[in-house]
């Protein structure tokens, strides 16, 4: 059994694939329903004569809700699952099993990183398909081409997240430390995003880019973030391979 098949079996038997799929599909199905029911939920129960008037909810609102949940819950789930998968040296005797057989660190890192990232992207695709279906049923048609383009940007964001985790997993020796460090950096990036000068360059810009592509004219500055995320993801993976090659058990 080679490393690629091993990683596919890992994704399935550890239930990590199911956790990812469940999280994304729940977001995809649940958020449009919440958006649809929002006006009724807000005005439900005793209100002391106050009636809240909300603008009519649209497909864009539903997709914005989905994008927000993917950026928060989706990112958190992917970071935790990725850390649990990508910490190579958490158990020294198990690490010895792999390291005495896969002498080149790239053979240790790439199959696990790529299969995990592919699993996250598959879950994302399932979540967005669910969101598209639910939104179409409840609100009417969503432009499919724009949704597909937005999904591509979301996919790049999750590639960046898994790359960040693999970089920390090459330094940390526990899943908790790797996940915690990666989430801390993602939060710091989100805070930096409030500085308007650099916000368009940060990969976090991609995490909620789905509505921007559906809403015409608001995605003009996204390409800076695409460039930074793509280059950053590649650099982080190379750094992880380099670091694992140098690190002793």
């Amino acid at each position: 059994m080679g490393p690629w098949r091993l990683e596919l079996i890992r994704a399935w038997r550890t239930r990590r694939m199911i956790v990812l799929l469940a999280a994304f599909v729940i977001v995809g199905l649940g958020d449009p329903v919440l958006t649809y029911l929002l006006p009724r939920l807000v005005n439900r129960g005793p209100r002391d004569g106050v009636h809240v008037i909300l603008p009519r909810q649209t497909a864009l609102d539903a997709i914005t809700g989905v994008a927000g949940s993917l950026a928060e819950l989706g990112t958190l789930v992917v970071a935790v699952v990725a850390a649990a998968t990508l910490v190579f040296d958490g158990r020294p005797a198990l690490a010895a099993f792999y390291r005495t057989r896969l002498r080149r660190p790239v053979r240790l890192v790439l199959p696990r990183y790529l299969v995990l990232t592919a699993a996250a992207l598959l879950a994302l695709a399932a979540g967005i398909l669910a969101a598209w279906y639910e939104t179409t049923v409840l609100f009417g048609a969503v432009p499919a081409a724009s949704l597909a383009a937005g999904s591509g940007l979301e996919a790049l964001w999750f590639c960046f997240v898994t790359s960040l985790v693999v970089a920390f997993a090459s330094v940390a020796r526990s899943a908790g430390a790797a996940a915690g460090s990666a989430i801390a950096v993602l939060l710091a990036l989100a805070l930096l995003g409030s500085v308007t000068v650099i916000s368009s360059w940060l990969p976090t810009r991609l995490s909620d880019s789905l509505p921007d592509l559906i809403s015409p004219g608001s995605a003009g500055d996204i390409w800076h973030a695409v460039l930074v995320a793509a280059v950053g993801a590649a650099v982080l993976v190379v750094a992880a391979v380099w670091r694992l090659g140098r690190r002793e058990l």
């Binding site: 091993l6 890992r10 550890t14 005797a93 099993f97």
Partner: protein, 315 residues
Amino acid sequence: MSALRTQGLAKAYGRTQALAGIDLDVPAGAVYGLIGPNGSGKTTALEILAGLRRPGAGQIRLAMPQDRVAYAPDAPEFEPWLTAAEVVDVAAGLLGRPRDQAAVADILRRVGLADAARRRVGGFSRGMRSRLGLAAAMIGGPLLLLADEPAAALDPGGRLEVLELLAGLASPDPADPEGPVTVIVSSHDLGDIERICGRIAVMARGRLVYQGGVGELLAQASPALRVVVRPPAGTLLAALSAAPWAGSVTQVSPGELRIDVTDQDEAERRLPAVLADCGARLIEVGRAGPSLQDIFFDLTGTGPSRAPAEAMAGT
């Protein structure tokens, strides 16, 4: 010919000198024992040889490529969601060896895990994991097998099986063009080492305090045998006194003889015939004087006769 030679191999963890320049010379096809108290540097040495740690100084010369060096740690771990057969299959696959289910089944049978081949490893006992660790190490066709305390977690029967398995790996097989496997085994159990190892290295505080044959080491310190037969032992005493390999023979108590030997090898070969010729009813035979354990305590500066503080300092 040496399978492995090291020169001045050293390793420090911070201020602690784990290895202080050791020169190992392991002959090809040998079962080579690495013994020493806890903290003497055995595991560090094995991990460096396995390529898991980098030496701080020194050289390693292997007579084979690094991917033909296998390592079985003292407490092996595997993915709990794999079956035993899958673990061995993965071990071969990661080395790039072709898939061979018959070889996997054969290895599992040899380590005594044939019945557990389809069970997930998560439910294995430590002893079963030790056996599986050996199976995973053996599958890729290694030419040098590094086994760290391979029998530590096993019951007496299991110990014997595993030790015989390791000794068997190093036995020449005319059908194998690559020759026998060289085995380096570390152990705390001197009986295990004495049973299967022809050569040993004794380590203490990161240094090599002895390297050579087990027989040579024992011969240096215990050139005497103790024979206990059912009394009377007069005829045997006379026969032994006349043997050219016996320096002197004394009767310590009725039926118990101490033989100071001049030629250890000859004594081990000839003694059974003398016993048989005299019709002696043998109860016990062994070494008189210090055992390998006593020599080990002497060399490493440890042992129960030492004051606890001193013994602790030595570990």
